[in-house]
Structures are given as structure tokens and as C-alpha cells.
Amino acid sequence: MLQISNLSKTYPNGTQALKDVSLSISNGMFGLLGPNGAGKSSLMRTIATLQDPDSGSIIFNGIDVLKQKQELRKVLGYLPQEFGVYPKVSAEEMLHYVARLKGIANDKERKELVKALLEQVNLYQHRNKYLGGYSGGMKQRFGIAQALIGDPQLIIVDEPTAGLDPAERLRFNNLLSEIGENIVVILSTHIVEDVSELCNDMAIIASGQVVQRGNPESLLNEFSGRIWSKKVAKEDVAAIQSQHRLVLSKLSAGRMVVHIYSETDPGNGFVPERATLEDIYFANIS
């Protein structure tokens, strides 16, 4: 159980990254959805002990994260949004290195674990290659493997699928779905599908604030029957925006499709649309 209370953070350049964020997250896969720059990574980094907030607190299973960093790190698995790899170190070496740092001192155990991990994330045949030569998907799989070392109770996965091709993304989500039980997994992403595929609980964060909170099912229920769509010409979008609460507008076969939020039938050619997380997301961040 992770309890985040009243977290605020302003960077030296004046950007307010987090505004009074409070969340309580229980076991299972938790999706944190938000656009670029919403403060997701700031939140993730703060939970991962890499930066201190200006105010607020984070408690995980009795550990005061901000004060007992070392304790939290013992139960943490963290896959950062941005991480590089040493160009001339192999995956196997690097996993050994991380395993050592995670307190696995027994050589034999460590060897077995690294081997098992490499096999599980399908990197075993590339284990001796330098990480510098890995493709994006391989790198992310390596990333999750290192995060899983040491039986973590809290796993933070920050934007893992950004930039992956569809096949790699699928495979990666597949992998994630297997680890999400009995422990807290926080998946931060700006890709709506990731959350709808994987999470049973979620929050939407925008401009440093939590704007929506709940499990995807109930959120969808809340929205069902309130999303309406219509195909229009490009130049009409502005007019619609002024009359309705526009959720999103996207191109479809050369014309625009607009989604609006309305508790009642707006008429005027709008047809009911099945609500998706995407609608909820856009409705919240716009």
C-alpha cells in the first residue's frame, strides 16, 4: 500500500511540477496517465527516492520514503523513463552489477537469478553483447529485468513503451502484465491503451495535479452515454468547440471526427459513441 499525501514540488526555474498530489495505491497494476510534462516523471522520481518534494509525504508499507530512502530502495524496482546504458558493458555484466548492489552477495544465487531473468525477458542469447548495441525493445526488456532483481515490493515503470514499435510494445505489456500481482506496480504512460490493457486502477494527472482517479471500468461507466461523435469539415471544428464541450477531434479518412461530452443528446447530427479511456483522458486534460 503506497500512500502519497499532499506532494508539491516547484523546480528552481519556477515550473511547478507537482501540486498537492495525494494518491493511495494498493497492490496491483496502477496506471498513471498524463500528457508530456504533466509531472508524471517528477512523481515517479520522487517515489523512487531520486528527488525530494518541497512538501508532502510518501509512505510505503510503513516506510517513510522521504526519510528512509535506503529502506525503500531495498524493496524498490525502478525502470526510469529515460535511462542509458554503458556502451561497453554486456547485459549479463550489468545485471550482475545491479544484483550485487541490490544486496545479493551470494555468487551462485546471483548467477542463477541473472540467468533466469535473461531467459525470461528473452535476452539470453544476447547476454554477452554490449548494451550499447541493443535495440529499443531489448533495452526496455533489460530495464525491466534489472528492476525485478531482488524481489521488489514496489515497482515503478516510467513510460516504458514510448518509442517502441507495436510488436515490441505488445510484448512488453505482456511481460508487465505478469508481474502486477501481490505487489504495487505503478505504470506511468501517456499511451491510453497501455492503461486500458493492463491496469485495474488508475489516475490521470495533468499540470501537476490529479484530475481523475478510479478504476478504468467505473470511469468508463461514468462516461458511458455521454460521449457523442460527428464527422465534420475541418473548418467547422471551431464552431463546435464554441458550442459544446469538445473532448477530441481527430482525422478519419480526410475528414474530422469530433467527440464531445454531453450528458444529454446534443442532436444536430451527433451520434452516441462508446466511451473509451481516450475520451476520459482527453476530457480530463483539456
Binding site: 528552481p12 527516492t49 531520486l50 528527488q51 525530494d52 535506503q70 530502495r73 531495498k74 524498490l76 525502478y78 526510469p80 523513463q81 529515460e82 535511462f83 542509458g84 546504458v85 554503458y86 561497453k88 558493458v89 552489477y97 545491479v98 544484483a99 550485487r100 548492489l101 541490490k102 544486496g103 545479493i104 552477495a105 551470494n106 544465487e109 546471483r110 542463477e112 537469478l113 533466469a116 531473468l117 525470461q120 525477458v121 528473452n122 544476447h126 553483447k129 554490449y130 550499447g132 548495441g133 541493443y134 535495440s135 525493445g137 531489448m138 526488456r141 530495464g143 534489472q146 525485478l148 524481489d151 514499435d165 510488436a167 515490441e168 510484448r171 505482456n174 511481460l175 505478469e178 508481474i179
Partner: protein
């Protein structure tokens, strides 16, 4: 297009602040150096080639400006040129640029031209700085010559601009080829290394022309032109585009054009650089494999135990450190720098320990000292480089996002990374040792002393490297970025190495300092390791504190500001670390206090300036006693007990003092070096001590009844020397040491009367201490000074008797013949007695010696040497025998029945002649490898011959205490040894020796700090006149007038003055004898050699041969000029004719005709008939005349030979014009 690229780039460069920063930094540094050399800080003695050379002499400006250009300038050049094109790749702007229609030439040319222009502007900085610096008020006016713009302009267009173009092009081409800024830096390092190798390889006289052309910076060429310049030249002349310098510039500009073309053709407008890759990188493509779905079962992962105890951490540390070290070793640049380091070592190892261009055996201490000296520079570069690397690597590769969130305390990261660096240093030291052993073995030397290697490399060398590593990592930890960190470390390193001790005046403030350790085969490391380790403990404690702080402030997490880190470091969990820091700081302060107690309380610790002030004080207070009549020592009886293990001695004895003056003497002045304990000082007649000054240990004993002329009194004394603690620096000789004590009487025995030898002699220093100008020596016509001899003021010739005791196992030696040897109380005693009068100048030696004995007629020969140093004993003994043969035949009988050579440790490198005793340093002959080449100078033989000659010239005839008198001992000893050398090795091998001596004379006179005197008046400090010029001229004169005539003159001189008391002879007396044996036609030569400073400029401008079959004629055009130089080196041509030898050679080495011609100044046509087919004609083939340009003294004849040879001849006879 070109114009657009160019002007855009220039405008961009003019906008970035770094351009101005470079300019300002260069100007400031130059101004600082200019002010320092102009005497802004009187304590800092900072001049080039002596006080007579203006701080702003053209040659000094050239040296500064070129140095700034060639070193700092190159670094700036890399920064400017390196980025000219690379920035497009760095910022990915190449995608835009390459897709425009700009042509390759316009793009590259424009960028390059702009970078060059800006570099040239930036490198005006030093000129501006120097001009401003020299114009600063507050400088010493005599140090500053009149302002001249010309030197700056000359240097700018001759050196600065060409060097910018040459190196700019090289860096530009490298950037085009590699597209990697690091490779450019590397190429700079490669250049510095190659330059270092070249300076050592092209050192010998035969290869310097090649070196002068090969050096792209033109510095060697300039040095070659200016090496013999006099003070006047240096103050007035600027190197112009002349001789070898213009050749160098043209060759390199041509090469530069080629390099530019190469880089240009290599570059293409493509995104993918042609990388120079050392390992093929395989990038797995998402092939079939990656479509296999991942079957992940988290529960299937094996269970592991985790532990976070300190014990586990420590166990883990080893693995982590090895990991870090491996990473470093894997680094390509590490490998390249290591490779160059090794290459450098191997290439320069041939030069180790050369004397007279003759190498020594590669004994371990020499190899390890040389290697660790050179190689540690590479290790330091690597350490500094990788200190940044280990601190910043995780952040640079963005791996820190993962690593920083791992459950590891900071200290584990810090210690593992630091240990990786320390491991690397250990490995490099091992590599160094292995390389040293390989060099030793490759030269067939098998006496490997692993212990010496280990102690040097791991006992001493490693400590310094480790300290540096901790400091560098600390600085990097605090630094906001890696390059600033490098910059700070580098600046600190330079400051600490070169300036800290001058400015801060005590080693306590010089990071990583120590009093020094030096190995001697005889004394091993002696007593030096203890103070060394105390100093290192002091610095080690500081470094532990720095390590603690580094670990506390280790950057972790997303936000790295120092303020935040400091806040985090105050966390309760860090209490132990803070405690460590506090404890180490306490140890640091404790050690520091202990060091201060040793160096400044138990011992006195004076800076040079304070030392000089003390001398000045001595002179101010006691000089008035200078001419007060004092009795002279006539008999000496001594008991000297040496305690090598305690490094102490006790001595007692008596001097018989006789009043040799015509007036009664009422008080006796006794002077003894401070630091010597005096327990008894009593006269045999009633007397009282009326004055005692402890700072300089000056005593005046007043006799109750004055000592009447001719009367004698006995002075009995008891003295001791005892070391207290340790000092800031090590003084090897003249104090008892564990094995190899060499101490002379002046170091611990009393002397009578004021001794002007302690006065401050350097007139620039005297001025700083408000003392009047002092002539460097007494005037030759000062008859009062004829009453004293040159070496000792308080005695003429004395009788001598000494009993010396030492620890069992050592042999103690003093002048005289061994009367008795016995053991008493577990100590060895030796009683020596001299049966003929000697100078009051003698020494005591004690060591565990082996002795090699031989005999020459009735004279016994003994060489006391350190076991293991047998290499050249036979050469030395042969040297003694041949010398005795020659000297006893041509001069006079040898006054002793014995010649002894005694080895002493290498703390100084000289041999010195005492009565029948010649102490001889272990480094100057005992390990010479004369056999390694046929051309080698047998210097063990030569030095021996020189020292044996001193038994005549010093110990039989000694000069008066006036100018020129040193020539009577040094030049004559040099003459004797040259003649013995020539008899043994022949004229041809002597030539190499004379060539080296000639070069030595010409180079040293060029940096004379006071004024060059003619030989007859040379000062004691003017070794280049006494030894080099004296030897050359005496030898030349002997060739001109005939060896027998010369020797008969010397014989008469000895007969007349040997063993005579005052008045002592001067050089006038010698020259008078020589003139008597010289024919009238050669009297001019005696004048030139002894009374003038004479230089010749001889060359053969053209020569032809005609004839056939044993009937040949050589027609040669010889240009000859003779010049007299004044004391500042200003030369005037002398009209008239001179005798000059001309030789014709049958082949390269065989001289088949030698004639002496009377040549007038200017062009002479010679017609020389010979009976053989001539190969070459040579003017002054025997190196008799002093001639700065010797390579034009030869002319190769013969048309049927290949043309290349002739071309060669022509290009090397390009000649500098003289003013």
C-alpha cells in the same frame, strides 16, 4: 557561398564568450609571467639565461610567446578548430546543412578559414599581455630593455601564424576523418608525446639538424640558431627567417597543404561518419527472434537472499571495484594512452643516464627512476581523465536513473569507483615495472633488482598517485561538470608542482609533498623512508578526510546542487562518516604539527631568500675581519669517530697554528659551520673567548699574550654532529649516512679567520639584500690575495695525521697511508699518516667497500668500490696507470706512493681529488657502459685521468686566491686528461669528445649571467671556460706549438711553484712560461686563447679536384674570419692572418693530408696537390679552433658519386648569417 559560410562562422565565434575568455586568459598569464620576470616579486628568482638578459629581450619574448602558442595555444586550437565542423554532428544540424546546396569546398573552407582567423586573433593575447606586463610600473628598471615592436611581429608571422595553420590543419583533418572530438584531443596528446620522444632522440650533435626540420613547431630550429648566441645577441637580435628555420617552415607548410587535402578528400556529406572502430559493433536487428512472444513467469525466478549489512557491502566492494577497474581498462582511450606511454618509454630508454653521449648500464634504479619519471606523467593524465570518467559516467550515460535508486549507501559507490581507479594505477605501475625489466633484458642486463622496483613503484610512487586520485575524485564530486573539474584539477596540479613551494615556502602547504627519497646502490634508501612516510601519512590523512567528504557529498538523484547534497549529508545516518572526516582531520593536523616540530623546531628551515639574508648578515657583520692577520694551520692531528648507524660523528684533534705574518696576533677567529656541536675549543696558551655568535657560529678567542711572528699555538677542539628529527629536504653528502659517508673537513672542523667563501656572490641577489656590488673574484693583481691559496684561506701546506673509526664492517678512509688497523669495542679503527705536505682540504669516507688493488711501478693503486660495481674498475685502473705514465714523464714525479679511488653514493655526480684520495660518485663512471658503442667516450677513463692530474695541478701547484686561478687546476687537469685520452684512443675518437666539449662551451657561454671573462681571468663559477674552453685551447696550443714545447713550459711552471707557500702563482705566471716556449709566429695564438675571447668562422665555400692516377690537385675556396667577443658577447671581426689547418681525406674516415696554412680574413684560394684520389677537404679537422658552425667546415669532392649525396651537402650547408 564561401563568403557566407565564412562570415556567418566568424560572427558566431565573435559572439561566444569563450573566444574572449581564451584571449583574456592568454593575455593575463602572459602579463603575469612578464611581470614576474621583470622582478615584481623580488623573492621569486625568475629569469632566462641570467640577469644580464632583459626580461623583454627578443629571445625571451620569443620563448614566452612561442611557449604560449605551442602549448596553451594548441589546446585552444583544438577547442576552436575541433568544433568547426563537429558541432554540426554534435547538435545534429548537419541534417540541415548537408541538405543545402553548399559545396563541400565552400562549407569546409569557410568553416576552416573562420576558425583560423579567430585563432589568430585569440593568439594575439600573449603579445598584448607581454607588452602590458613589461610596461607595468614597479618592475626593476635594469631588467627591462627598450620597447621593440619588431620581435612581436616577427614571432607572430614566423611562429604563431604558421603554427596555427599547421596544427589547425592537422586538428581539422583529424576532425573530418574521425568526427570525434576525443580523437582530436588524443592527437594532441600524441603530438606532445612524440615531441618529447623527439627531444630526447635528437639530442645528440649528429641528429640535431634532422630534429630541427622534423619539429613542426619550429622550436628546435630556432634553438639551433640561437643556441650559441651571446648575451648581446639575445638582447638585440630576433630570429629571422634564416637557415634551418626557413627550411623548417617551408617543409611544414607543404606538409600542411597535404594534410588539408587528405582531410578534405576523406570527408563526405553523409550522415554516417566513417568511424575508426576498434571493435565491430553488432546491432541486433529485430529479426525473427524478437517476434517470439515473451513467456514470463515471475514466480519462476529463483529465490535469492539479500543482505544489506556493512559486512556484505564490504564483500561486495571487491567485486564492484574489479568491475569499475575493468570498465576503465576497456576504455579505448585508456589503451591508446597506455600504448603511447609504453612507446615513449621504449623509444627514449636508449638515452637513460647518458654522459658524453655514452650510456650507462641499465641498472635498476636508473631504469625505474627514468621510467617512473616519464610514465607517471601518463599515469597522472589517465588518473585525472578517469577521475572525471568514474564520477560522471553514470550520469553521462543516464545510467544513474537506475543506479541511484538502488539500496546502496553512497560510500559503496564512492569506494568502489575510487578503488577501480586505484587498481588501475596499481596495474599501470606493474606495467611500468614489466617494461623496465624488458628494457633491461633487451640490453642484455640481467641483474634485476625486484626489490628496488617494488619499493620505487609501490612503496613510493603509488602513494603519490593514490593521493592524486583521491583529490581528483573529490574535485570532480564537487564540480558542477566534468570539464570544469578537469580544468580545476589541471590548474591545481600545475600550481602545486611548479609554484606552490615557491610561493608558500613550506612543504606543509604543497600537496603530496615529501623530503624526497633517492636510491643509491651503496646507501639504498638510507634514512629517507621515515620522513617520507611521515609526510605521506600527513597527506594521507587529509585524503581520507577528502574521501569521507566525497562520499558524503556524492551526487545522487535527479537534483545535484551542492547545497542540496550538503543538506542531505547532514542526515543522522551519516554520523559515522562525519566522524571519520573529523578523525582524519585531527590526524592531519597532528602529523602536520609533528612535521613542523621536526623541520622548524628541531631543525631550521629557511627559504632561499632567508638563507641569502643570513649570508648577507654574516658579511655585514664580519667582513671587517677579512684582512685581519691570522695564524695559519701547519699541522693537523685528528681522531674522527663515525657512527654511520646513528648518522653522527664525534671528532677531536689539534691544529698547530703559526703566525706567519710580520705582526703579533692578539686574537684568533674560529669559524665552524652551524649545526656542529662544539664541546671544547681551547688554545694551548692562556686565552678567553671574547665573542661568540650562535647564528653563524663565529668565535673570537683573545690571547692573553699576543702570538709573536713565527710563534705557534695549539688549538684543541672537540666537535660532534648529531641529526635531530628530519628536515624538509634531503642533503646526501657531508653528513654521516648508513653506508657511503663522504664528508670533508670544512663540513665539521673549525677553520681560522673570516672566510669570504660564505658571502653572497650573485650580484643580483646581493642587490636584493642591500649589499654593494662585489667582484666575482679578487683582482689578479691584488698582491695581498697572492698570499692565500685558492682552496683554503687558513693554511698553506700542512702535515696530517688522523685516526678514523667506524662501525664494524665498514672501511674508513682519510688521506695518508694506513699505519695501523685494529678493532676496539666492536668498532674498526684506521690510523692514517701523510708523509708529505698537503693542502688543508681533505675528506673522510666510510662504507662497506671491496677493494681492487694494482700497482704502477712502486705506487700502489686501490679502488674502493661497492660490491656489484665492478664494470669499469679496470678502466679506472688503466686510467690511473696511463696518467701516471704521462704525468710523471712530462711534468714531475708523483708526490705520493699511492692512488686511491673511493666510490660514494650518487647524491652528487662528481669526482674530486684530495691528496692521494679520489672520491668518485657511483653515478659518474662506475656504471658507464663504454662498450655499448665503438664511438663512446670512455669517461671513466677520462674522469680518472682528470682527477689524477689534479694531484699535480691543485695538490702540487695551487693558484693564488684571485681570478683565473681555478684555470691552473681545472684547465691544466683537463689538458692532462685530454692528452692521456688522445694517446690511448687516438685523434679520431678524441674528436667526438672535443666536439661535445665545444658545444658545451658555446652553449653555456651563451647563457652567462654575469660576463664572460677571458680564460686568464675566469671565475670559479665559470666551469665552461675552466674545463671546456681551457681544455680545448690548451690542447690546440699543444698541437700548434708542439706537445713537447707545451709540456716543457708546464714542467718549468711546476718546478717553480710546486709545494711553495705564498705568494701563490696566478695565470700570468703560467702564461709567461708558455710564451717562453712559443715561437714568435704563434704568440698571437697565445693571446687569442688566453687573453681574449676568440671565435672563428671558417667554411669551405667551394672545392674542386683535378687529375688522375696519384696526381691530384684540390682547389678549395676557404672563407675564414676571426672575431673577438666582449664580455657581453658582442663580436668584432679581427683583420690579419691566422694559421689554420686544412686536411684532405682519402675516404670518409682516413685523413691522408694535413697542412697548416696562413689564411687571411675573407676568401682564400688554396691549391693542394695530393697523391691520392681526394674524397673530401676539411678546414680545421682536429677541432682546434672555436667555431660555431662546424658542419660547413667540410666539402665533399668527387663528381662521379651519386647526386643525392651532393644535394644533401648543399642543403645542410645553408647557413645562418651573423650580425
Amino acid at each position: 557561398m564561401f563568403g557566407a559560410v565564412f562570415s556567418f562562422e566568424v560572427r558566431r565565434l565573435l559572439r561566444v564568450p569563450s573566444t574572449y575568455i581564451y584571449f583574456v586568459v592568454l593575455a593575463l598569464v602572459a602579463a603575469f609571467v612578464a611581470m614576474l620576470s621583470g622582478g615584481l616579486i623580488p623573492e621569486a628568482k625568475f629569469n632566462f639565461g641570467g640577469e644580464k638578459i632583459y626580461a623583454n629581450a627578443p629571445i625571451v619574448i620569443d620563448a614566452f610567446y612561442s611557449f604560449m602558442t605551442n602549448y596553451v595555444g594548441l589546446i585552444i586550437l583544438v577547442a576552436i578548430v575541433g568544433n568547426a565542423v563537429l558541432k554540426d554532428f554534435q547538435f545534429n544540424t548537419y541534417t540541415m546543412v548537408f541538405s543545402t546546396p553548399v559545396s563541400k569546398f565552400d562549407y569546409l573552407g569557410g568553416r576552416f578559414a573562420a576558425a583560423m582567423l579567430i585563432s589568430m586573433l585569440v593568439l594575439l593575447g600573449p603579445a598584448v599581455g607581454l607588452m602590458a606586463g613589461y610596461a607595468t610600473p614597479g618592475l626593476i628598471p635594469e631588467r627591462i630593455g627598450p620597447f621593440m615592436l619588431a620581435p612581436y611581429l616577427h614571432i607572430y608571422w614566423q611562429t604563431v601564424i604558421p603554427n596555427i595553420l599547421i596544427f589547425g590543419t592537422i586538428f581539422f583533418a583529424v576532425s573530418l576523418i574521425s568526427r570525434d572530438i576525443f580523437v582530436i584531443w588524443l592527437s594532441l596528446i600524441v603530438f606532445f608525446v612524440a615531441n618529447g620522444v623527439a627531444s630526447s632522440v635528437f639530442k645528440s650533435l649528429d641528429t640535431q639538424t634532422l630534429g630541427a626540420i622534423a619539429d613542426p613547431q619550429g622550436a628546435y630550429a630556432k634553438r639551433m640558431i640561437t643556441r650559441y648566441w651571446s648575451t648581446w645577441d639575445k638582447n638585440h637580435r630576433t630570429v629571422s627567417m634564416e637557415g634551418i628555420f626557413i627550411v623548417n617552415r617551408l617543409v611544414w607548410l607543404a606538409i600542411t597543404a597535404g594534410v588539408w587535402a587528405l582531410g578534405y578528400s576523406f570527408f563526405s556529406f553523409s550522415a554516417a561518419p566513417r568511424r575508426i572502430s576498434f571493435r565491430k559493433q553488432t546491432v541486433p536487428t529485430s529479426g525473427k527472434v524478437s517476434f517470439v512472444p515473451v513467456a514470463f513467469h515471475k514466480d519462476a525466478l529463483p529465490h535469492t537472499h539479500r543482505s544489506y549489512t556493512t559486512a556484505t557491502m564490504l564483500r561486495n566492494l571487491w567485486g564492484l571495484s574489479v568491475n569499475e577497474c575493468k570498465t576503465l581498462l576497456r576504455n579505448v582511450y585508456f589503451r591508446i594512452i597506455l600504448l603511447f606511454g609504453l612507446l615513449f618509454l621504449f623509444l627514449t630508454s636508449a638515452q637513460i643516464g647518458q654522459i658524453f653521449e655514452t650510456r650507462t648500464y641499465p641498472v635498476t634504479y636508473q631504469v625505474v627512476e627514468y621510467f617512473s619519471g616519464i610514465f607517471s606523467l601518463f599515469i597522472i593524465i589517465l588518473t585525472i581523465l578517469f577521475s572525471g570518467e568514474i564520477v560522471w559516467r553514470a550520469r553521462e550515460f543516464r545510467m544513474s536513473n537506475i543506479l541511484d535508486a538502488l539500496p546502496v549507501p553512497n560510500w559503496v559507490y564512492y569506494v568502489s569507483k575510487l578503488s577501480g581507479l586505484l587498481f588501475m594505477q596499481v596495474l599501470l605501475q606493474i606495467v611500468m615495472v614489466v617494461a623496465g625489466i624488458m628494457v633491461q633484458l633487451s640490453k642484455g642486463y640481467t641483474h634485476l633488482e625486484l626489490g628496488v622496483y617494488l619499493e620505487y613503484a609501490f612503496g613510493f610512487g603509488l602513494i603519490d598517485l593514490w593521493l592524486l586520485a583521491v583529490l581528483a575524485v573529490f574535485i570532480q564530486t564537487l564540480s558542477p561538470n566534468k570539464f570544469l573539474g578537469y580544468f580545476i584539477v589541471a590548474i591545481f596540479y600545475f600550481w602545486n608542482t611548479f609554484f606552490a613551494s615557491i610561493v608558500l615556502k613550506h612543504k606543509l602547504w604543497v600537496f603530496s609533498s615529501d623530503p624526497g627519497v633517492i636510491w643509491s646502490d651503496m646507501n639504498r634508501f638510507g634514512h629517507l623512508p621515515y620522513p617520507f612516510l611521515v609526510f605521506k601519512l600527513y597527506w594521507g590523512a587529509l585524503c581520507v578526510a577528502l574521501a569521507g567528504l566525497s562520499s558524503l557529498l556524492w551526487a545522487r538523484g535527479a537534483e545535484g546542487s551542492l547545497k542540496l547534497r550538503l543538506k542531505n549529508a547532514q542526515h543522522r545516518a551519516n554520523r559515522k562518516s562525519w566522524a571519520l572526516v573529523a578523525v582524519s582531520l585531527m590526524v592531519f593536523i597532528g602529523c602536520g604539527s609533528f612535521i613542523y616540530y621536526n623541520t622548524n623546531v628541531l631543525n631550521t628551515s629557511l627559504t632561499d631568500f632567508q638563507e641569502q639574508e643570513k649570508q648577507a648578515d654574516y658579511e655585514r657583520r664580519f667582513a671587517r675581519y677579512k684582512n685581519r692577520p691570522q695564524p695559519r694551520v701547519t699541522d693537523i692531528k685528528l681522531n674522527v669517530d663515525l657512527y654511520p648507524d646513528q648518522r653522527s660523528l664525534k671528532a677531536n684533534g689539534t691544529y698547530l697554528l703559526q703566525n706567519k705574518t710580520n705582526s703579533p696576533i692578539d686574537s684568533i677567529h674560529v669559524l665552524i659551520l652551524e649545526g656542529v656541536n662544539v664541546t671544547r675549543m681551547a688554545l694551548s696558551r692562556p686565552a678567553s673567548q671574547v665573542f661568540y655568535d650562535s647564528t653563524v657560529a663565529y668565535r673570537i678567542l683573545k690571547l692573553a699574550q699576543p702570538l709573536q711572528p713565527g710563534d705557534s699555538v695549539t688549538l684543541a677542539f672537540e666537535v660532534g654532529m648529531q641529526p635531530h628529527g628530519f628536515t624538509q629536504s634531503f642533503r646526501g653528502l657531508n653528513t654521516p649516512i648508513y653506508n657511503g659517508t663522504f664528508i670533508n673537513n670544512q663540513a665539521f672542523l673549525p677553520a681560522i679567520g673570516y672566510n669570504n667563501g660564505f658571502e653572497l656572490t650573485d650580484n643580483a641577489d646581493r642587490k636584493k639584500h642591500n649589499l654593494p656590488y662585489r667582484a666575482t673574484a679578487n683582482n689578479i693583481d691584488d698582491t695581498a690575495s697572492w698570499q692565500r691559496n685558492l682552496f683554503v684561506t687558513d693554511a698553506d701546506f700542512v702535515t696530517f695525521d688522523a685516526t678514523v673509526s667506524t662501525v664494524k664492517g665498514q672501511t674508513a678512509v682519510a688521506p695518508g697511508y694506513l699505519q695501523r688497523e685494529w678493532t676496539e669495542n666492536g668498532r674498526s679503527y684506521f690510523h692514517y699518516k701523510m708523509d708529505s705536505p698537503i693542502l688543508n682540504f681533505y675528506s673522510f669516507l666510510s662504507a662497506r667497500y671491496k677493494v681492487k688493488k694494482d700497482k704502477w711501478k712502486n705506487t700502489s693503486i686501490e679502488v674502493y668500490y661497492h660490491p656489484g660495481h665492478e664494470y669499469n674498475l679496470d678502466r679506472m685502473i688503466k686510467g690511473i696507470k696511463k696518467s701516471l705514465d704521462y704525468y710523471t714523464t712530462v711534468f714531475s714525479p708523483y708526490q705520493h706512493r699511492q692512488v686511491r679511488i673511493l666510490e660514494f653514493p650518487r647524491y652528487s655526480s662528481f669526482a674530486q681529488s684530495f691528496p692521494n684520495t679520489i672520491p668518485f660518485s657511483e653515478s659518474i663512471g662506475f656504471i658507464a657502459d663504454v662498450e655499448s658503442s665503438k664511438d663512446n667516450v670512455d669517461y671513466p677513463f677520462y674522469v680518472t685521468a682528470h682527477e689524477v692530474a689534479h694531484q699535480w695541478f691543485a695538490h702540487q701547484v695551487v693558484g693564488a686566491d684571485v681570478e683565473g686561478s681555478n684555470a691552473l687546476s681545472e684547465s691544466l687537469a683537463q689538458y692532462g686528461s685530454i692528452m692521456v685520452l688522445e694517446r690511448e684512443y687516438g685523434e679520431e675518437r678524441l674528436r667526438k669528445f672535443l666536439k661535445i666539449e665545444m658545444d658545451n662551451y658555446l652553449r653555456t657561454r651563451s647563457s652567462e649571467s654575469e660576463k664572460e671573462k677571458p680564460w686568464m681571468l675566469a671565475d670559479a663559477g665559470q666551469g665552461y671556460i675552466l674545463y671546456q674552453k681551457g681544455g680545448i685551447q690548451m690542447h690546440a696550443l699543444a698541437k700548434y706549438m708542439g706537445e713537447d714545447s707545451m709540456n716543457s713550459a708546464l714542467k718549468r711552471f711546476i718546478d717553480r711553484y710546486a709545494f711553495q707557500g705564498p705568494p701563490y702563482p696566478t695565470t700570468r705566471d703560467l702564461v709567461r712560461e708558455i710564451r717562453m716556449s712559443t715561437p714568435d709566429s704563434l704568440q698571437y695564438f697565445v693571446t687569442d686563447a688566453f687573453e681574449k675571447i676568440t671565435l672563428y668562422d671558417n667554411k669551405i665555400t667551394d672545392a674542386k679536384m683535378n687529375g688522375s692516377n696519384g696526381n691530384w690537385v684540390v682547389d678549395a675556396t676557404i672563407e675564414s674570419y676571426k672575431m673577438y667577443a666582449d664580455s657581453n658577447g658582442k663580436e668584432t671581426k679581427v683583420a690579419g692572418s691566422n694559421y689554420i689547418e686544412v686536411a684532405v681525406y682519402k675516404d670518409r674516415k682516413t685523413r691522408s693530408y694535413l697542412g697548416r696554412y696562413k689564411l687571411h680574413g675573407g676568401k682564400n684560394e688554396l691549391h693542394i696537390p695530393v697523391t691520392f684520389k681526394p674524397y673530401k677537404v676539411v678546414v680545421d679537422p682536429r677541432e682546434l679552433l672555436i667555431d660555431r658552425q662546424q658542419d660547413d667546415n667540410e666539402f665533399r669532392l668527387g663528381k662521379d658519386d651519386d647526386d643525392d649525396d651532393k644535394e644533401d651537402k648543399k642543403s645542410s650547408s645553408v647557413k645562418a648569417t651573423r650580425g
